[in-house]
Structure formats: structure tokens, C-alpha cells
Amino acid sequence: MTDEKKKRAISRLKTMYPLRALIDGMYEQAVEASKDGKPVAWCMVNWWGGDVILRTMDVAAVYPEDYSAVCAAFGAAPAYLARSDSDGFPTHMCGYARNCLGYAAQMKDLGEIPPEAPMGGMPKPTLLLSSGFFCDTRYKWFQALGRYLDAPLWVLEMPHPGVKESRMEGVREHNINFLVEELREFIAFLEHLLGKKMDWDRLEEIVDDTIEMNRVWHQVNELRKARPCPMHSRDFWSSMPASLYMAADPKVTTDLYQKMYDEVKYMVDNHIGAIPEEKYRLAFAELPPWHSLGFFNQLAERGWNFVVESWAYHPPKPIDLSKVSNPLERIANLTYQYFSGYFEDAFKVGDWWGYFAHPYLEFVKEYQCDGIFLHPLLTCRTATNHLLVVQDQLMRKLKVPSLVVEGDIVDLKLFDPADALRKAETFEETMSHYRTVRKEMGLAW
């Protein structure tokens, strides 16, 4: 099979490319900002609260989580991983973190961006913005960077209520207050660090644009419920960082998502799928093997269309925030909606893992998936913890089977595409079998 054929197996959306370019541009802009003496932050994905504040305060942001995926895709990761390992960080830890620690170590040794760094590299930061969201790595990693960087670190908190606890009287209110107060403390930290004041009018505008950006992005993904699905997961993964990492002015991003909506809507209206013949519709959990994305072309040739992905990377369900006057409360509500948006559905059916796990049940039903591709990441607890529960619940409740293929987001040694393809071939029979079972149960697909 030639590379050219592989590329044609999935029709990529034209409107995806400018969105991907926003991310690529983020690194160049940060390097330029650094050269001009402007502040630069290394950030964890923080689900918009910290991003809008940084943008308002004119801090250029780069996201080492994304950058590690870039390093993986460009083949630069192995050297950084090796450096992290030799500095004593345990090898079972997050591939993104180990890549970044190795990168920072190299940068410290050289006193500048390592020359081999892809996309121009990440410049030395003025500050680090970490997040307590989801995984311990996302603040312990940045704390560990203190070995190589003298940038101050702020950890932004995020409440993680249980489904039952979230329904108790007053819980939503104190969680939102917590988020808002956290953002206020972060603003005070930034004002002190940068010696400038927050422009509240500008913040208000950026917050509203961010809410709109996520609304449009959600609408794009709603269109993917169509048969055949017009947008493959590869386009989702290329487009999601624009929202997740706030790569540009959210007005610009919204405009690009709107163009994507138009393109996808056209395809839906004209029954155009992302692959030539959609035989199987699949969900993908969690992050893909960034170093081996060509693998999906081979599956596409077999009629596998990936129509939905992890809840974690999707925008929140739309929420009406027009009556919330304070911009910090608005963005806090958006973040909280992202986290707890499926809790009500989960509570109704007594499913106590309202984020990560339960949304798959909703997605698989709504997007009518024949199967789910579970990709346990051998160095990531967060993306792996819930997969067995998901596998079990999907089979017990919806008779949807799972294909489990272990791998890693950065370390290509941990993913074997040939073995995965062999497993995929036999999985087709399993998917076909459960189609019949679901039909007998009276399920809709």
C-alpha cells in the first residue's frame, strides 16, 4: 500500500488546516514574544479559566502537553525521554511530562531553546500555570520543573465532586465560588508578578468569545452523529487544540469553527462521509498514539470510521450563562459545566463516575457506535483508570464491544501497529455479532 493511498483513506476537512495552523503558530508567537521581552507562560490545559486571564493580561501561552505530542509526532521525543530517565524521574510516569522535563533539562544546559526542538521550541517561561484538574501529574510535573526553571508556579484548582455529592444542596454554589475565588487569587498573583492590572472589560469580552467558541465547536461535533459520519477523529484531534489550548483570539477560532461547521453541514446534507465506505462506527478512548496516526488510514480502508472521542477533549454541553453577570463566574460556570455536564444523566441511572466513564455511554448511544477502541496509555493513569469500567459498562448496558490496544502518547516503543491491526481484523466479527444482539434487544443501532 502506498503512502498516497493511505492519505486518501480518510478525507480530511479543508477547514481543519487553519485550525491546526493556529496551534502551530502558538509556538512561533511565544518565541517572538519572549524575544521582545514579553511574558510567556507554560500552561497545563485548564479548561479556559486560566487561559482567558492570561490572554487578557497579554501573556503568550504555550502548552507542554501539546508540545510533547508535537515532539512525539516529529520524532524528537526519544531524546527528551532519555534525558528525563537519566535525571532520575521514574520511567512509568507520564510520557508528556518526561518529554517536557527532558526538554527543560536540555534547555537549561544550553541556556537556550534546543536547536533540534520542533516548531521552534518553547521559550523559557516567565511563569508556569499548572492545574489540579484530573491528574496529579498536571501539578507535580510543573513542580518538578523547578529543577530546571526558575519561573514561579501557580496551581489552579478545580473541584471534582462525586455524582451524588454534586446533587447536594449548596454544592454547586460552593464549587463555583471556589473556582471564582481561585481565579481571583490567580489574577492577584499575575498582577503582582507582571506589575500590571487586569483589564476587566477586556476580560469580559474574551470570556464571552470563549463561551461562543465552545458553543460552535460543540455544534460541529453534534453534526457527526450523521450517517455516514462526515468528520473522522483525526480531524477532531487536529481541531480540538484550538479550543483546548486557546491557541488564538477566541474570535478568530470561533470564525474557523464556524467555517468547519459549514463544511461538515454540507457533507451531512449531501451524505458525504469521512471515509469511502462506513462499515463500522467507532468511538476512541483516550488519546491516540500521536507518533503512529497513519494507523487510522489502514483502519479507514477497512471501513472503520471514528465518529466520537473521549469526553475529556470535547467542549462542554451548551449552557445558558446570559444571566450570570460576572465574567469570572461565567467562565467558572463553563468549566464546571464541562466537568459535570453529564452528571445529571449519570445520576438518573445510578452511574457514579459522571465524568470520563459515564459520557461514553451517552456518546456511544447518540453516535450509534458499533464498537469502541480503548487505548490504555501505559504511562498515563488519568487516561487509563476508567477504561475497564467503560468496557464493562458498555457491554453490560449497551452490548457494545471494546477493542483494547495498549500504547502510549509519546513513547512509540509501547505501541505495535501491526499487532493492533491483527486484533482489529478479528474485532470486526465481534462488532457484527453485537449488532445482531442489540437489534434483538430493541436498541436503535
Partner: protein, 391 residues
């Protein structure tokens, strides 16, 4: 009150070997037993309502077979073991569980426990990650939520008076544990690392007042006995992930060292800070359980220099200075850093902690293990080599 029969260290050994024996007897008498995970659930609130707190621990000698259905192999083997025991029915005597956001996997396991074990009572305390002012306020709100579900479960009011009384009794236990640890300061120590761990495990298996009585007996016995540990050149501090089984410490002590201090969660970490009695008892509890408990899962701010920069060594001193103090007070000449594979919060600390210990001239070694007795054997050679280095 303890059961008739053995006392002191003999009683400790009995409890260590059959942890649930006493609480099952109490349950037969009509008491309710609540399981808890790690050191973040606020135990005073259970004690105040006459609930017996019982810590969820694993079993290194029991192969994990059932947990493979709901917890993948790339997560903390200790938590997998705890879940495995739950799925095998070994925690069926519990009337409920309270879990906290002790770490990421613990947080997720709280949800998994609810799904697969359907406890009659379950509450999750979403302990914040930082000590920010907002986080402290949030933590108090979370304790108010916990209070509500406990009151609903027991049908009793959790009054300030009951809570204050419980705080006093738990503080008394903390004082007694300190007293026990003081007995590890002489050379040779009056109580071994193995014995201390057995006491700590026993305390997690008894109502707090019974634990206090047991501690008094142990302290008295240890002070009087003549056959304590012998003099050895190495006096070690052991740091890291939870240790709830004597196998590792036994191996270390059997090859020529005295383990005289620890910084683990079934050890000093759980006991070395008191709860201040505040006008609203929840204030003192919220502060102690978030700010005073020192563990890598809680992020502590760094004091920045005048230029707004972070100084690495100052940061390390903020985070690990207490270990330097322990080393001085307990006259430690070597530190064993140990973490379970897949324990991220401890794993990220290792290079920084080694930098700190190197800076204050304390020899150290890092051991990684799989929470399995069989997997400890290869570590023996490394520990032997380390002991040779420190003389």
C-alpha cells in the same frame, strides 16, 4: 477497652495478623464500622457519631485477581489490592466507606468502589490540591457536606460538643504516637521499625479510645523491657508510598539497620500534626487535614525571591525541610526513598528530594516496588550495598 487476654505488643501482633477481628466483634455488638481510605477523611467526624473508623489497607501476600476487572494494571498496586480485597468480600463487614481525593487514583477508585461494591453509605471528600485561601474555605464547605451525609446516615446530630470531644481523643492518640516515636530516638532504639509499623496498623483497626489504651500499654512495655533492638551502625528513615506490611522494613532490619523514623501514611505522616480546637471545630479540622498534613499530594507555594523568581533550593527546603529536621532529631544517617510503581505523586518528588538530601549530606537510595512480598527480594541486594556505603 480491649478484649481480655493479651496486652501491649502481643496484642498489637494479634491485631496486625487479624485486623478485622475486633471491629467485627464490635459490629456484632451493634456498632457501625466505616471504612476509609488514606489519611484525608476526617476521622473525628466518624468518632463523634460513634462510628468506628477502619482504614482500608491492602494485602501484599494476596494475588490481585478480581481487581483486574475494574482497575488497570498501570495504576497503583496498593489501591488495586484494596479494591481486590473489596471485590473478594473481605470488607463486607463495613457499613459504609468514606474516601477522599488523596490522589488521582484514590479519587477514581472512590467512584469504582461505589459502582461495584454498592455500599449502604458512601461519601467522597474532594480534598483540594493546594493550601490557597480559597482551597481552605472550600475544604470547610466539603466537611459541611460530609457532616450532612453522616447525620443523614446515622440519624444523629453531629454537634460541636461531640466533635470537640472526638478531636480531643484523636489528638490524644497523636500525642501518644509522638511519645512512641520518641522511643525510637535512643541508640539503639527502644522499639523497632517492624514493631512500630505493627502498632500503626493496629491503630487503624480499632476505635480511637481502644487504640489510645493500646498505645499506653505499648509505651509502658517498651520502656520497661530489656530485649529491644540491638545497636546497629545504620539508623534509617524510610520515606514514600504507603507501607502497611512489615515485609520491607523487616528485610531492611534483618540486614543490619534500625529503621528509626518514617515519613509514610501508615506512620508519622498520619499523626504528627494536631487539630487545633477552634470555635467552630470544622475550622480546625479543615485546616489540619488540608494544610497541616504533609504529603506530596498537596502543593505548597514557594516563597519567591525579590526578583519574582523561584529559588530551587528554597523550594526544596519548603517542601522537604521537615525531613531534614526528622533526620537530626532521630539521628538518622541514611534515608530510604521508596515508592510503588505507578505512584505519580511520590515518583515526581524523587529527583528533587534526592537533590535536597544531597545538599544536606544525607546518603539515600531510591527503591521502586510492586507491592508484592515476592517482588521485594531483588531489593535486598541494593539495600545491603547502601548499608555498606553508609557504614
Amino acid at each position: 477497652m480491649t478484649e481480655a487476654g493479651s496486652q501491649g505488643l502481643s496484642r498489637v501482633k494479634e491485631i496486625y495478623q487479624d485486623r478485622s477481628h475486633r471491629v467485627k466483634a464490635l459490629k456484632a455488638e451493634g456498632k457501625q464500622v466505616i471504612g476509609y481510605y488514606d489519611i484525608y477523611p476526617v476521622l473525628e467526624m466518624l468518632t463523634a457519631l460513634d462510628l468506628v473508623p477502619y482504614r482500608l489497607l491492602g494485602d501484599m501476600s494476596e494475588p490481585i485477581t478480581k481487581a483486574d476487572t475494574c482497575l488497570p494494571t498501570v495504576v497503583c498496586p496498593f489501591i488495586r489490592s484494596v479494591m481486590d480485597l473489596g471485590l473478594k468480600g473481605k470488607y463486607d463487614f463495613l457499613d459504609g466507606v468514606v474516601m477522599a481525593h488523596a490522589c488521582e487514583v484514590a479519587e477514581k477508585t472512590a467512584h469504582i468502589w461505589r459502582i461495584y461494591l454498592t455500599p449502604a453509605y458512601a461519601h467522597f471528600i474532594d480534598t483540594p490540591h493546594t493550601t490557597h485561601a480559597a482551597a481552605q474555605k472550600q475544604h470547610k464547605e466539603l466537611l459541611k457536606d460530609f457532616k450532612k451525609t453522616l447525620e443523614s446516615f446515622t440519624g444523629k446530630e453531629l454537634s460541636a460538643e461531640r466533635l470537640e470531644q472526638a478531636i480531643r481523643v484523636h489528638n490524644q492518640q497523636r500525642t501518644l504516637v509522638r511519645e512512641l516515636y520518641e522511643l525510637r530516638k535512643p541508640d539503639p532504639p527502644l522499639v523497632s521499625g517492624v514493631e512500630t509499623l505493627q502498632v500503626m496498623v493496629a491503630l487503624t483497626s480499632l476505635p480511637v479510645e481502644e487504640g489510645n489504651e493500646l498505645l499506653r500499654q505499648v509505651i509502658s512495655e517498651v520502656k520497661q523491657r530489656k530485649d529491644g533492638p540491638s545497636l546497629r551502625p545504620a539508623r534509617l528513615l524510610i520515606w514514600g508510598s504507603v507501607i502497611d506490611n512489615i515485609a520491607l522494613i523487616d528485610m531492611i532490619e534483618n540486614i543490619g539497620a534500625n529503621v528509626v523514623m518514617d515519613d509514610t501514611s501508615v506512620g508519622s505522616r498520619a499523626y504528627f500534626s494536631q487539630v487545633e480546637l477552634t470555635e467552630d471545630p470544622l475550622d480546625g479540622l479543615a485546616y489540619r487535614y488540608l494544610v497541616e498534613l504533609k504529603a506530596p499530594r498537596t502543593f505548597r507555594e514557594t516563597v519567591l525571591s525579590e526578583t519574582g523568581k523561584k529559588d530551587y533550593m528554597t523550594d526544596l527546603e519548603n517542601r522537604f525541610g521537615y525531613l531534614g529536621d526528622y533526620a537530626k532529631e532521630w539521628n538518622v544517617n541514611g534515608i530510604i526513598l521508596q515508592a510503588m510503581r505507578y505512584c505519580d505523586i511520590h515518583g515526581y518528588e524523587v529527583p528533587g528530594l534526592k537533590d535536597y538530601l544531597g545538599n544536606i549530606g544525607l546518603p539515600n537510595i531510591y527503591l521502586e516496588h510492586d507491592y508484592s512480598e515476592a517482588a521485594l527480594a531483588p531489593l535486598r541486594t541494593r539495600v545491603q550495598a547502601f548499608l555498606e556505603v553508609i557504614g
